[in-house]
């Protein structure tokens, strides 16, 4: 892809994704709260605080989301058409909202559950079910937000879900000749013990 830089307006994406976070937060908090004995009153209180934090900081959150996506696209040399895919909007909006939430671990933790839940929901709509992946990432969140950040960094969580979503396309590689599979890996492409070992890995 080449040509002039393409500025992309993401207001329409924010219009579906920001309310989705609010709706999903309540569902997520009910489940979290049920497991941890939280009262219904606390759940409603957190929901109001959550939505208020987003509404009052929407412009800053939106700008931060755009900056996050811009940095990602330019850092990884990824072009785009005239809109941004759902994984980026869900992930980068989620990371931006996190910055503007009050400093309550429960609020931030459940918010990240929501982010992972929305990414998982996107996969499910493609017929891809990865419960172990979701369990692993949410376990990381429960361990602590700093651990989540240190393990997955700025874009790791996004990249995992995005790459899983393209698994079906990757299956094409299974039908390539062995030499094509290993091209660019630095491994000896001549068949031998090493190649047998590599290709036998499940």
């Amino acid at each position: 892809m080449s040509g002039a830089p393409k500025p992309i307006q993401i207001n329409e994406e924010l219009e579906w994704c920001a309310p989705a976070y609010v709706r999903s937060f309540m569902a997520a908090y009910w489940q979290y709260g049920t497991a941890h004995g939280a009262s219904a009153q606390a759940s409603v209180g957190y929901l109001k605080l959550y939505a208020q934090s987003i509404s009052e900081n929407m412009e800053a959150i939106a700008q931060d989301t755009a900056d996050g996506i811009s940095n990602y696209l330019n850092r990884y040399n990824v072009g785009t058409d005239n809109s941004v895919d759902e994984y980026k909007i869900i992930y980068f909006l989620g990371r931006s909202i996190l910055k503007y939430l009050p400093d309550f671990d429960v609020l931030k933790g459940v918010h990240l559950f929501v982010m992972v839940g929305l990414l998982d929901f996107r996969l499910q709509k493609l017929g891809i079910y990865k419960p172990q992946l979701v369990t692993a990432v949410t376990s990381l969140i429960r361990t602590g937000l700093s651990v989540f950040d240190s393990e997955l960094g700025l874009t790791g969580c996004y990249l995992i879900f995005k790459c899983v979503s393209t698994t079906e396309r990757n299956e094409v590689a299974e039908h390539l000749p062995e030499t094509e599979k290993l091209r660019g890996t630095g491994l000896d492409v001549e068949r031998g013990p090493l190649l047998d070992r590599v290709t036998n890995v499940q």
Binding site: M1, S2, G3, A4, K6, P7, I8, Q9, I10, N11, E13, L14, W16, A18, P19, Y21, V22, R23, S24, M26, A27, A28, W30, Q31, Y32, T34, V44, L47, K48, A51, I54, S55, M58, E59, A62, A66, I69, S70, L73, N74, N77, V78, G79, T80, N82, S83, V84, D85, E86, V114, V116, G117, L118, D120, F121, R122, Q124, K125, P131, R142
Partner: protein, 63 residues
């Protein structure tokens, strides 16, 4: 107002705050060989608004 109504109201408030935004722009530089990424999937966006129960089910795994 029950919880579902409250949630809907708060989601509408957030939507209104989005509607009042100025244009929010993602900027890309000019690449010679950039990899194309996917564009928005309208079917998913529609399902996100209609299958709220399914969105909630996602979190059973992590709660």
């Amino acid at each position: 107002m029950n919880d579902a109504q409250l949630t809907a109201q708060l989601a509408a408030d957030v939507l209104e705050s989005v509607a009042n935004l100025p244009p929010i722009i993602v900027k890309t530089v000019d690449f010679e060989n950039a990899n194309a990424t996917n564009s928005r999937n309208e079917a998913f966006v529609a399902s996100l608004n209609s299958d709220e129960h399914l969105v909630g089910d996602c979190f059973l795994k992590g709660a």
